[in-house]
Symmetry: C2
Subunit: 149 residues, 2 copies
């Protein structure tokens, strides 16, 4: 059992207030945040949705390498994009309506069909996917490059 912490400090109301988010365990970064940069142009500011995207893309990339290993396959490279969509919710709030995952990998000695099956398994079993069951998660996976098989 292991714990990872982050903290946010906020002052003021939603529209004119502002805050900062600290990656507390690693101290890898501290970010300024505001609601305006969350729901319109980012202006160089991160947001809860971009941080969810980062968590999900990192989790899937690692899990894909794990799933490949169960078939004695090793990726030369794995690239994962996560696109989180924020929509207006019923009742006027906002809603994370979708996470679209795009995975491209260079994997020697695997067929396209096998690869698709393994990528689907990786997306279904990654810990972040299993936590994010309150939103829709989609996967577009393809091999990149050509290898003898």
């Amino acid at each position: 059992m292991l714990r990872r912490d982050a903290t946010t400090h906020w002052e003021g109301d939603l529209m004119s207030g502002k805050g900062s988010v600290l990656l507390e365990t690693s101290r890898a970064a501290e970010f300024g945040i505001s609601f305006g940069s969350r729901i319109s142009e980012s202006g160089g500011h991160t947001s809860p949705e971009e941080l969810i995207a980062a968590a999900h893309s990192a989790c899937l990339a690692m899990n894909m390498s794990r799933v490949l290993a169960t078939k004695r396959l090793v990726a030369t490279s794995i690239d994962v994009n996560a696109a989180v969509t924020l929509d207006r919710a019923q009742g006027g709030g906002i809603d994370i309506s979708r996470v679209a995952l795009t995975l491209r990998a260079v994997v020697p000695a695997v067929s396209a069909e096998r690869f698709h099956d393994l990528a689907t398994l990786a997306a279904l079993t990654c810990p972040v996917s299993r936590a994010l069951t309150g939103t829709i998660v989609t996967l577009d996976a393809d091999l990149e490059g050509r290898y003898p098989r």
Copy 2:
């Protein structure tokens, strides 16, 4: 409708491989990641779990300011810690088993009871909480400071 992207590049297997995560929309940061720093000492590296914690703490802080505003209340300050617990999953993988939220706020002219109700509503309705229905989310909320009421 609005989109936030992040990307991860990974090379190699799970245990000895390594990667990097880019906050693609804002370009606010790029992080090195590894599985070793995810499941033992962070060594200054972030992880999917810490990024989820960051997303959740930021989301709750903003949503608390929104919920307070519906009662014409404005927080002088809101501090939210999110602690994400990673456990061994059944079958040998890893699992995000819990997100423990701790909220402390300075809010003039609100009773402790009213404040608890509003904090609970904020935690239940924040978009990240509503997306993270695959894990357990707990809330510990208290007023900080004393105000005439």
